[in-house]
């Protein structure tokens, strides 16, 4: 008889999921989340995502975990980009464009400067 209950099974699955998230670079020193709901995409978040993707693929940005997420309800400030950094309070940028994304990469992710005027 199979002794594993659904609950035990799901706990195992959760542990594996957490393991996979971590091995995909979740523990990088910096994590960047780009909002990718219909509203965000309509506001131009695909372009923003592309800038980050290219920077990582091209090697200019290292040790960064990039992910997408749904709408958090700040529709008037979209697209939003969130930077979560080891040991620091999360920073959320609003109305991010390609240009702003590039500046976030240069100034924030590389030099550690928080660009106050775009912070939500």
């Amino acid at each position: 008889m199979n002794m594993v209950t659904p609950l035990e099974l799901i706990r195992k699955k959760r542990a594996q999921a957490v393991g996979r998230i971590i091995s995909s670079g979740y523990l990088s020193t910096k994590r960047v989340y780009v909002g990718m709901a219909t509203c965000e995409i309509a506001a131009g978040s695909k372009d923003v995502m592309e800038v980050f993707r290219e920077a990582i693929a091209g090697g200019t940005l290292r040790d960064v975990y990039l992910s997408q997420k749904g709408c958090a309800g700040r529709c008037n400030l979209e697209p939003t980009v969130e930077v979560i950094e080891e040991g620091k309070i999360p920073v959320k940028y609003g109305r991010v464009t390609r240009e702003r994304a590039r500046e976030i990469i240069d100034r924030h992710l590389k030099k550690g400067e928080i660009i106050q005027e775009w912070v939500i």
């Binding site: 199979n2 594993v4 209950t5 659904p6 609950l7 099974l9 799901i10 706990r11 699955k13 959760r14 542990a15 999921a17 957490v18 393991g19 996979r20 998230i21 971590i22 979740y26 523990l27 020193t29 909002g35 709901a37 219909t38 509203c39 995409i41 992910s67 997408q68 997420k69 749904g70 709408c71 958090a72 309800g73 700040r74 529709c75 008037n76 969130e82 979560i84 950094e85 080891e86 040991g87 620091k88 309070i89 999360p90 959320k92 939500i120």
Partner: protein, 595 residues
Amino acid sequence: MEKYVITLCDGTTCIQKKSREIRTALEAEIQKAGIADRVAIHLSGCLGMCAKGPIVIVNPGYSMYGNVTINDVPEIVQEHLIKGRPIARLTIDEDHLYNRFFRVFGDADFFGKQMRITLRNCGIIDPENIDDYLALRGYEALAKVLTDMTPQKVVETVKKSGLRGRGGAGFPTGVKWELTAKEPGPEKYVICNADEGDPGAFMDRSAIEGDPHTVIEGMIIGGFAIGSNKGIIYIRAEYPLAIKRLEKALADARKNGMLGDKILGSDFSFDIEIRLGAGAFVCGEETALIHSIEGARGMPRPRPPFPAQSGLFNKPTLINNVETWANIPVIILDGADWFSSIGTATSKGTKVFALAGKIKNTGLVEVPMGTTLREIVFNVGGGIPNGKKFKAVQTGGPSGGCLPEKYLETQIDYESLAAAGSIMGSGGMIVIDEDSCMVNMARFFLEFTQDESCGRCTPCREGTKRMLEILTRISEGQGQPGDIEKLERLGNMIKKSSLCGLGQSAPNPVLSTIKNFREEYEEHIHQHKCRAGVCTSLLTFEILDSCVGCGACKKVCPSEAISGKRKEKHAIDPQKCIHCGQCFMACKFGAIRKG
């Protein structure tokens, strides 16, 4: 060696309780133990657990420690980080699902009065990665149901929670489940209503796009509770991204054994398919929706029989709204008692609203039932932009009503909103300021419902058409004495005699604006005046003495109604003027008066 991430709350209360000192101590201890390369420290805003602060969370494993002191630091490092043994003494058991929200966004104004239950993962997880959902206790409610609960127990729990349908009517969800469970099987259906037809509403779309698995998990639990093996998500084709994410989520859930045969090794089998709707408002009505899935024309039919007795293919069918489904996993995991502790006497839990119109923070908000309209508009929504004055708030979309300032203290709850003359609806909330015309607003909604009327019953088909004609002539300055009374009579008749909810609620925007803003209707009819300056046919334009004669207005006027020599004052011929307002916008000197 295992890598760890420690999240420290850096909210105001936790800082007061010395969370910063704890951080310094932790860093020193980690350094001393020589494990700095495999431990990362993150800070978070207020986690909403201030009473138990300072809060320290260790991941993986999500151990949440509360009331942590400096003296606990060596133990955390030695026991947990080095030996891998979480410390039971410090652990807070109440891992309420909704707290996740505070962890990321903290207590900013916009989020302070919110409580995110159904949107708990929206904006936090990657909706296309099932691992993100699993990591946050995803599918644990399903596993719990399959391991420890009978279908009756699940129905009991939902009933006890006090959850009511979020699709508009507010029918008690548990009762609906019980009725469907009682019907003879084996063929029964579970439907998720994701038609979302209200103009300006996007709650369900965002919920699915941000966290599709929650809805799926809720539906599987519903299937288990009523004894069904087949679920259908009915979603409009105009939501391509939501559909794509649902498809991905369904495939991932199947791959992981959460859908299909013998779910998670149990005896229960269930699968879900997606059906696309063409985007007709009336197809959101449950009987019309069922016809549409059957391949027939999307027209409602009289009830009873209710879908619970005879629904899809005449089989017992459980139909609930997206947001209703998204509440289910939380109720199962955090318990009916906890859920029913939120809200008012008759309305439990939270409600999602799509805030739109003249408001600073447009977007999705989720607030506990019992929050007042004022709190939503002025705290969460940030008030009216550009220093304008608040005029009304419209809830319930084309089926709802407009509430003026004196109703701002109304609590969000099915009964109080109805008592005030509006409805909860599915969650559209439009804020109106002094620049909006109430007649025009009513006309907009009626135009929509008139257009969407399926045409099956006469009161709705013909009645709304006549009402629209009257409204149109009022806004064009052709209103006649007695029109208001005619609108009221027609409206009440349509409400009483229509077949489905569309017609029964279509006159609401008109009737509620007449009730609360009758003087605006009267001004339109008797004085040919629109105080907001929206109904352009009622506007007159006049050029003032400050005109410098630049000719800009003359250039844009499409009906050549403006004349005048260069550098001299121009004039408008009222006979030729078509009230388009182009000249008003073109004038750089404010020399044209609109009124």
